[in-house]
């Protein structure tokens, strides 16, 4: 128990075409405050499902287990309450919102969260100033704040936009679901730097990735291997290189 994020025996399923499908089969994972953990694992092991369940997506039914986040029962909270409590999910495939201005969306979100946290709302001028600076730090084109949310964004732009939102929403716990997929080396570095800037004793993150490359820039405190809906192995940052050269076969064999 870390008193920050504790996942214990978490099981969840989804109703896929009328068939109940068990995806998480007893996930145990604890993340202490200020630490960055990574989850790696083969496709279909339940990594994205874990991130959705933590963020409160309703399609998944939690059948067993518990998640406490900063002392509260996370599973009892609405998605927006989790956001207000400091949880942020950078989506693997960010969603397009046609006609919704990006800056307006960001400000609405930031102020909704600030309101819920008992902080003062930002006025348009103050917000734009902060947003522009944050966008610049991520090497985003200035017009991206004016465009519609994720509409017509390239894969890389979408990912940067996720990191921009994360920066502005100031979460205490961020889940990055394959934020590195589809990024070239330069973009990868910029995104990783964006995350690194947030690192502090008050910020933890769970990074879901397939590649060791991201973890070169974003050195995690712990790495977990996930397979068939469970964490089957955990280790230090050196684990990434081992997986990169050997694959998951050995861990899978051990777990079996």
């Amino acid at each position: 128990m870390t008193q920050f994020l504790d996942i214990s025996g978490l099981c969840a399923r989804i109703d896929a075409d009328g068939q109940e499908k068990e995806i998480l089969r007893g996930v145990d994972l604890s993340i202490p405050p200020g630490e960055v953990h990574a989850i790696m694992g083969p496709n279909g092991s339940g990594k994205s499902t874990l991130s959705y369940v933590l963020a409160g997506r309703e399609d998944y039914e939690v059948t067993a287990g518990s998640v406490t986040f900063q002392g509260k029962d996370l599973l009892e909270m609405e998605p927006e309450e989790r956001a207000a409590a400091g949880l942020f999910l950078a989506f693997q495939s960010p969603i397009e919102l046609p006609g919704v201005n990006n800056a307006n969306f960001l400000r609405t979100a930031v102020n909704a969260v600030r309101r819920a946290r008992g902080q003062e709302e930002l006025d348009a001028v103050a917000f734009l100033k902060t947003a522009r600076e944050a966008a610049k730090a991520l090497s985003m084109a200035p017009d991206m704040l004016k465009r519609n949310v994720n509409v017509g964004f390239s894969g890389g732009e979408k990912k940067r936009n996720e990191v921009l939102q994360m920066t502005l929403l100031q979460p205490s716990f961020a889940i990055l679901d394959e934020t590195d997929s589809g990024l070239d080396v330069d973009a990868l570095r910029i995104v990783a730097e964006g995350v690194n800037r947030l690192r502090s004793p008050d910020f933890s993150a769970l990074v879901i990735t397939h590649h060791q490359r991201l973890l070169d820039y974003l050195v995690p405190d712990r790495i977990h291997v996930m397979a068939k809906g469970r964490i089957i192995h955990s280790g230090g940052p050196e684990l990434a290189k081992q997986i990169d050269s050997e694959g998951y076969t050995r861990f899978l064999a051990e777990a079996a």
Binding site: A83, F88, L89, F91, L97, G99, T108, V113, L169
Partner: protein, 496 residues
């Protein structure tokens, strides 16, 4: 992705509480006896002290109406209307002809205050809450129509100085009879259709606007319609004439109390634009839509048409339709002048059991005439919404162009959206484009917004406003803010 169970439940829970304009005003009324016959029409005409020619015109319309049948082609369903079971004239009793606000019944003034309609010119200039980021709000002249009559028209002096006439049409009949007689019924003839004929026979008030040659109307004009009395219909008639090189922007708003029975609103709006003239006509329609079981609400059967008579004239309709139990309305443009332009921007929102069949007609007669149609339809609950539009290009309309875009957004899985475009082209050189899409607010979009901290209601509001942006940006600035709020209120509780 299908709507989740909670979504459907929430829709069912949506009560009438969200219609905040549903109060009733206690006021002493002058009411004509129920029923519709020649005597009723003579009584209305006499009450309004009308000239003989107008009475004759009304009676002719009435006899035409008696031969006509209610149109049945729209995709709306309602029990037969008993036209004899309504009052055709209802007016707040008053001393003859109040000339200033001081003479208007204070109860009426309070009503408009509650509705947020500024009737005090001073109040309008100062102390009105400003939307964020705006420093000053330009004044808007208001004509307030309560049941059958206009109670007050503001800023008339300022407008008079510019040469603009803005007054109740009943007054225009007396003060500017030649103008009224010259244009009344020239765009929508008395026998045009069932409801237009009914309106021509019994119309009681409405606004008259005349902008002389070369004048840009110095402020926005607006009419605010309120139905209050029970068992009455409202039949207003609006006539706007804009001379060569002149321009005007006009907005109408409307609300009604919540009642269990249905009430009929059958208005006629006629617009005339001469050479190089431009008319921008915006509507925020918010009649009582009925309760969550589809009981009560206004039947909104309206004929709106504009004639672009002069070369390079332009008529632009923008409508945000959130109210009424049934809406039957097709604001149209007759593009006669060479190079004239017609535009139709529409957002129609239906929830619960509302039905809307709305769209436009663009009739291309002159050379190089252009029209644009952007229609956004949002359906929630068990409502049904239809876009019905006609683009007709006549043989001499060389170089005519039309662009139509119809987008439907469905919320939940028990509502319907239909798109019925009619295209009649008799000129091979014309260019006509039609695009249509239907989409749903996806669970993905809602979840994305909620993960960022937005409540579900706010998320829907944001997505819907995004969907309607192309239309909302056509509204005058100060009304766009109103319209955005209204959209949100109309869809309150439409998702879990």
């Amino acid at each position: 992705m299908p709507a989740v169970t909670e979504t459907r439940e929430a829709v069912e829970k949506l009560g009438q509480s969200s219609y905040k304009w549903g109060f009733e005003t206690e006021i002493d009324m002058d009411l004509a006896p129920k029923g519709l016959n020649e005597d009723t029409i003579r009584l209305i005409s006499a009450r309004k002290e009308e000239p003989e020619w107008l009475l004759e015109w009304r009676l002719a319309a009435f006899s035409a109406w008696q031969q006509m049948e209610e149109p049945k082609w729209a995709k709306v369903a309602y029990p037969p209307i008993d036209y004899q079971d309504a009052h055709y004239y209802a007016a707040p009793r008053k001393k003859p002809g109040p000339k200033s606000l001081e003479e208007v019944d204070p109860e009426l003034l309070r009503t408009y205050e509650k509705l947020g309609i500024p009737l005090h010119e001073q109040a309008l200039l100062a102390g009105v809450e400003l939307p964020e980021g705006e420093t000053a709000r330009p004044p808007v002249a208001v004509d307030a129509v309560f049941d059958s009559v206009s109670v007050v028209t503001t800023f008339r002096k300022t407008l008079e100085e510019a040469g603009v006439i803005f007054c109740p049409i009943s007054e225009a009949v007396k003060e500017h009879p030649d103008l009224v007689r010259k244009y009344l019924g020239t765009v929508v003839p008395a026998g045009d259709n069932f409801y237009a004929a009914l309106n021509s026979a019994v119309f009681t008030d409405g606004s008259f606007v005349y902008v002389p040659k070369g004048v840009r109307c110095p402020m926005e004009l607006s009419t605010y319609f309120r139905i209050n009395a029970r068992n009455t219909g409202q039949f207003e008639r609006t006539l706007i004439v804009v001379e060569d090189g002149a321009s005007v922007s006009y907005l109408e708003g409307c609300t009604a109390p919540m009642r269990d029975e249905n009430q009929l609103h059958a208005a006629v709006v006629e617009l005339v634009a001469m050479e190089d003239a431009s008319i921008k006509y915006s509507t925020v329609q918010n009649w009582y839509p009925g309760d969550e079981n589809g009981r009560g609400g206004i039947y909104n059967f309206v004929t709106k048409r504009g004639a672009c008579r002069g070369a390079r004239s332009k008529i632009s309709w923008t409508q945000v339709e959130t109210g009424s139990a049934i809406t039957w309305k097709y604001p149209s443009c007759i593009l006669q002048g060479e190079g004239s332009v017609g535009e139709f921007y529409s957002v129609a929102v239906t929830n619960n059991h509302q039905q809307a069949d709305t769209g436009t007609k663009m009739i291309h007669i002159g050379r190089n005439t252009r029209s644009t149609i952007i229609a956004k339809t949002i359906s929630a609950g068990q409502s049904d919404s239809t876009y019905r539009g006609l683009v007709r290009v006549l043989p001499k309309a060389y170089g005519a162009r039309n662009f139509t875009q119809c987008d439907s957004l469905l919320i939940g899985d028990r509502c319907g959206a239909h798109t019925v475009p009619y295209i009649e082209n008799r000129n091979m050189g014309a260019r006509i484009e039609h695009e249509a899409t239907t989409s749903k607010i996806s669970e993905d979009q809602l979840f994305y917004c909620r993960q960022r901290g937005l409540s579900e209601e706010d998320a829907v509001g944001l997505i819907v406003n995004g969907f309607c942006r192309d239309v909302l940006k056509e509204l005058p600035m100060e009304f766009a803010v109103e319209a955005q709020k209204l959209l949100q209120i109309s869809l309150e509780g439409s998702v879990g």
